[in-house]
Amino acid sequence: MAKEKPSPLDIKSYPDHHVITQPNPLRKVLRRVGGDADPDDPVLRAERALAGLSGEFKTWMAVEADRLTAAHAAIVRHGFNDKTCAELFRAAHDIKGDAATFGYPSAAATADSLCRIIEHAPDLDKVPPDLITHHIQAVQAIVHDYTKLDSLTIASELCRRLRKVADDYLLHVNRDRPEHLEAIMAPSIVPGD
């Protein structure tokens, strides 16, 4: 597809903007299939392939959790600076995005709570160290104890309580920062676990 010549553009000009329409260069990859039921459903095929990968998810999740712990250890050693803070955020943010896919939704929610602290605390040096440490430990506990039958409820409850403490802290320290308050109180667009 990408090797073909670009299609000509239709440009309509107005006083403060142009509307540019390009004949759909990808139209040729669309094909009609008969009926509503497609025996070769690509989404089903992909879901099966994803399920086939799931044997690796526990290992991947442990790698992500260890990366988070290492990022936290660097902060304990060197304090918050641009580099250590960015790595902690990236590690937490990756868990927030990936953990639910790997089957650990509570770890994702806990990492989300940690991301919110990093994003919205006005001064990270003044965040109670235990608040951050408990998030790191919670992710590790969820990842390593998740196979126990009773751990699903415990993980969910642990995550809910941590989020409550983190939110209370963020609401307090941002009481004079309305733009942060709005973001803190806005509902996430990601479905919960």
Binding site: M1, A2, K3, P6, K12, Y14, P15, D16, H17, H18, V19, I20, T21, Q22, N24, P25, L26, R27, K28, V29, L30, R31, R32, V33, G35, D36, D38, P42, V43, R45, A46, E47, R48, A49, L50, L53, W60, V63, E64, F89, R90, H93, D94, K96, G97, D98, A99, A100, T101, F102, A108, D112, C115, A183, A186, S188, I189, V190, P191
Partner: protein, 181 residues
């Protein structure tokens, strides 16, 4: 019902997390894609974008060197020699309304909040293939039309001057990101 011949499409995947790249690759190959190039940072992605001329870009937001937002802004340069019109799907753990708006204003075509699902990814790809939006160029913006709802009565400061812009009836990026698929 329409299906996509994925084997005719060329993808560029950009995510610094190797696990997420593996998942994306698995999903795209299962859909039938054969050409999926991978980059782990924004700078490499931009280089690969120029070299491979992909049909569709799927990018994370947070990445080293420069991020997915900056990558989008660099691709959406109307005077550039490369293709500034390629659909860009932002796949990210950022899930706040403010982020969706920022991504939209950078020129992102579709927004998909993690956790990723096969259905969510497929529908975003189907949408950019089957329903491309016209591009809008103003002094401050170049990218897919951000207006998906008609409001003829709107008289605010962002009203476009002179004529009716082409508007497609589609759910907003935010609504789609919120959908549980």
């Amino acid at each position: 019902m329409y299906r996509i011949d994925f084997n005719k499409l060329r993808f560029l995947l950009c995510d610094d997390n190797p696990h997420m790249r593996r998942i994306l690759r698995t999903l795209l190959h299962s859909f039938g894609a054969r050409e999926a190039y991978e980059a782990e940072d924004g700078a490499t992605a931009l280089e690969m974008y120029t070299h491979y001329v992909p049909d569709i870009v799927i990018t994370d937001w947070s990445m080293p060197i420069f991020d997915g937002l900056e990558l989008t802004q660099m691709i959406r340069q109307p005077e550039s020699k490369g293709n500034p019109y390629a659909p860009i799907i932002m796949l990210t753990g950022h899930s706040e309304k403010r982020r969706v708006t920022v991504a939209r204003d950078a020129g992102v075509t579709e927004f998909l909040a993690k956790p990723i699902s096969a259905k969510g990814l497929y529908q975003r790809i189907l949408n950019v293939v089957a329903n491309p939006r016209p591009f809008i160029k103003t002094k401050t913006y170049f990218g897919p039309d951000r207006r998906r709802n008609t409001n003829a009565a709107y008289m605010g400061p962002e009203r476009r001057v002179g004529g009716l812009a082409e508007i497609l009836q589609q759910p907003s990026l935010l609504d789609k990101a919120r959908s549980p698929i």
